[in-house]
């Protein structure tokens, strides 16, 4: 089944009729994702890309039975869109929007605690189960079907990893872009755990960045499973100066514990195959898998 999304996922697009929403909804439909409609307030009752448009997420759920939502709403309104999706009972919300105020995300994440909704992102490329379902903005063709899972804070690094994995003769089960903001819905550990318990995933690529403590937490979890599946890890930002934000809002070295070196050390101690160069992800994964056989 891979994880999070599959051919049975019924997907709605929040911010459906906007430029971004329209472009990526088209791409998702072309990929084969079952997009059942979209939400744009005050455009309910119309159709867009031959799919129904609803005023609210609740209406969309009622009419289409949607269980996954992808959000392309502008930053000022995105946290509200996340809470609306959760309130309507959507099981998986993927928020692509970059630039949401941190205080908005703190409130949205707190709101989700009392619901059964899982949030991926924000500021992420989304989730893809190879050759089955794409709920995101990634170029689908890079993700050849296979049995390697990817968890990554970065978009283009996810593509880089997927491409290297494919060139190494392997393929992808599900790739989860968790996002580069300081407050995100699903942590590295939670995403790794999903793949660790997935029958269709044999090994995991885990890509982190400077800032925060999520990779260390994930590494300790991997160790606690007795390193059930091989994990190849990379941390971007080994050369980043302290105290500077490197593009992603969450990518900033605050103290000794959130440097790339500190994270790589903990990951190596926990039995993760840590690569220093991003060019070695595919090669190292091929070796780790070979050891398995």
């Amino acid at each position: 089944m891979a994880v999070l999304v599959n051919k049975d996922s019924k997907v709605i697009v929040q911010g459906f009729t906007g430029t971004e929403g329209t472009f990526h909804a088209t791409q998702m439909i072309e990929y084969g994702t079952n997009v059942v409609g979209g939400v744009t307030p005050n455009k309910g009752g119309t159709t867009h890309l031959e799919k129904p448009v609803f005023n609210t997420v609740a209406d969309a759920v009622k009419q289409t039975g949607a269980n996954v939502s992808i959000i392309f709403v502008p930053p000022a309104f995105a946290a509200d869109a996340i809470m609306e999706a959760a309130d309507a009972g959507i099981a998986l919300v993927v928020c692509i929007t970059e630039g949401i105020p941190v205080s908005d995300m703190v409130k949205a994440k707190d709101y989700l605690k009392d619901t059964n909704t899982r949030l991926i992102g924000p500021n992420c490329p989304g989730v893809i189960t190879a050759e089955e379902c794409k709920v995101g903005i990634m170029p689908g063709f890079i993700f050849k079907k296979g049995r390697i899972g990817i968890v990554s804070k970065s978009g283009t690094l996810t593509y880089e990893a997927a491409d290297q994995v494919a060139k190494a003769g392997l393929g992808i089960s599900t790739a989860i872009g968790i996002g580069g903001d300081p407050i995100i819905g699903t942590t590295t550990k939670e995403a790794v755990e999903l793949l660790m318990n997935d029958d269709e995933t044999d090994a995991i690529v885990m890509i982190g960045e400077i800032g925060g403590g999520m990779e260390a937490e994930a590494a300790r979890y991997v160790q606690s499973t007795g390193n059930k599946k091989p994990v190849v890890g990379f941390i971007a930002g080994q050369t980043a100066p302290p105290g500077r934000r490197m593009g992603h809002a969450g990518a900033i070295v605050g103290g000794a514990d959130d440097t790339a070196a500190a994270k790589m050390k903990i990951m190596a101690e926990c039995g993760i195959h840590v690569v220093a160069s991003p060019a070695d992800i595919g090669k190292t994964m091929a070796e780790a898998i070979a050891d398995l056989k």
Binding site: S103, S154, P241
Partner: protein, 403 residues
């Protein structure tokens, strides 16, 4: 976005947070006038003159070529004039500015808070920030004020207290009282402290701060609680709802090349190395910097061109990177997804021809959609551009370029 002390204090006053009062000045003349005003208005025996720069350690830092600290006490109008002349236009070097220092364009002439009174004065530390792991704001405070808080945390962690605040709500009354008790306050000072932290937390939330640090938090001899210094950093993502705060941005404090890059929507951070890079995506940009280092070079910058790498953005990127004479080579690393590599390649060729004479080697690594068409375009362009498809090939080319 960082704010100056005088700006942060003005914002705090709007939230009824008491501060050490002062007047921001641009010239020695203004400073002299401010000194007179401070003396009469607050009955101060002397005034404190503080350089306004975006860096800490001002009190211990000094002005290049002069025997002048970044924070100084002035006991007369002559003192103020002299200090102001030394500070304004001078370059202040502190442990946080690095050896290059920062030019002082503004000074704050502030009241004396150490005036005599019935009770002893005390200095505390208090800051508010977001705890990423808990997803909650946390108030961190200590009885050890005026010192470097990292040292306190390291040497005497038992003297640092933390109070987490539930998202969406205010600081509760019992929490504010707990803070005042833990700081050892009683009577009027206790009541004033409860008001201070309650209002300060409202300011943190109301202004969408990333970080708000009061060091020292000060108890005067007549039991007032005031902010003597204030560091405030506001969430840039939230500036859209605070146009008044956004207007306080001081671009003279920022690297000019970073400011220029911002005009082209390029996310640029200046570094110190010899290999420039231009990449799409923040994570891949950091990873590319790391790869430059592993290939024997040193990254000269971080540059994320985002999802639209076209001729205009590439040309702007080239020009910004080449302003640094230390740059020996430039690596362009684009993973084309939605953006087609052949379009990016054409952008590189157009930008190259528009600039004309580029003396340093350019290495272009294009992977993803139409990567092979792109490589052919570059290879047949006749320009001094080396192309690669695999990241490992790009690394080898960087290695050759810096050797």
């Amino acid at each position: 976005m960082n704010l100056h002390e005088y700006q942060a204090k003005e914002l705090l006053k709007k939230y009824n947070v008491p501060v050490q009062e002062g007047i921001a000045c641009n010239t020695p003349g203004e400073a002299e006038e401010a000194y007179r005003q401070i003396k009469t208005q607050y009955n101060s025996k002397f005034a404190v003159v503080k350089a306004q720069i975006h860096a800490g350690g001002r009190g211990k830092g000094s002005i290049v070529g002069k025997d002048q600290r970044g924070v100084a006490v002035a006991k007369s109008a002559e003192d103020v004039l002299e200090i102001a002349k030394n500070l304004l236009g001078g370059t202040l070097v502190t442990i946080q500015t690095g050896p290059a220092g920062k030019v002082v364009n503004k000074i704050l002439v502030a009241q004396d808070v150490y005036y005599e009174g019935p009770n002893p004065v005390k200095e505390f530390y208090l800051s508010v920030l977001m705890d990423r792991a808990k997803g909650q704001n946390v108030i961190m405070y200590s009885t050890e004020g005026g010192m470097n808080i990292e040292d306190v945390a390291h040497d005497t962690p038992e003297l640092i207290f933390k109070e987490w605040v539930h998202p969406g709500g205010p600081l509760q009354g019992f929490q504010a009282r707990k803070i005042a008790f833990n700081l050892g306050l009683s009577g009027e000072a206790f009541k004033n402290c409860v008001k201070f932290v309650t209002n300060l937390y409202n300011a943190f939330v109301g202004l969408d701060c990333d970080m708000l640090e009061i060091n020292p938090l000060f108890k005067t001899s007549d039991d007032k609680i005031i902010a003597v210094d204030c560091k405030m950093n506001v969430d840039e993502n939230a500036l859209m709802r605070h146009p008044d705060v956004a207007a306080l941005r001081d671009i003279s404090e920022e690297d000019p090349t970073e400011v220029e890059a911002g005009k082209f929507n390029l996310n640029f951070v200046k570094l110190d190395g010899n290999v420039g890079c231009m990449v799409n995506g923040a994570g891949l940009a950091m990873a590319t910097m790391d790869m430059i280092k592993l290939s024997g070079g040193e990254p000269a910058n971080f540059l994320d061109v985002g999802g639209t790498a076209n001729a205009t953005t590439v040309e702007a990127g080239f020009r910004i990177i080449m302003k640094d004479p230390k740059v020996k080579a430039i690596l362009i690393n684009i993973f084309g997804g939605i953006v087609r590599c052949d379009r990016v390649a054409q952008g590189v060729i157009d930008a190259y021809q528009s600039i004309g004479n580029i003396e340093i080697p350019i290495i272009v690594r294009l992977q993803g959609t139409n990567a092979d068409v792109a490589k052919k375009l570059i290879d047949e362009s006749g320009l001094k551009v080396q192309s690669a498809i695999l990241l490992s090939e790009a690394a080898a080319l960087v290695n050759k370029a810096v050797a």
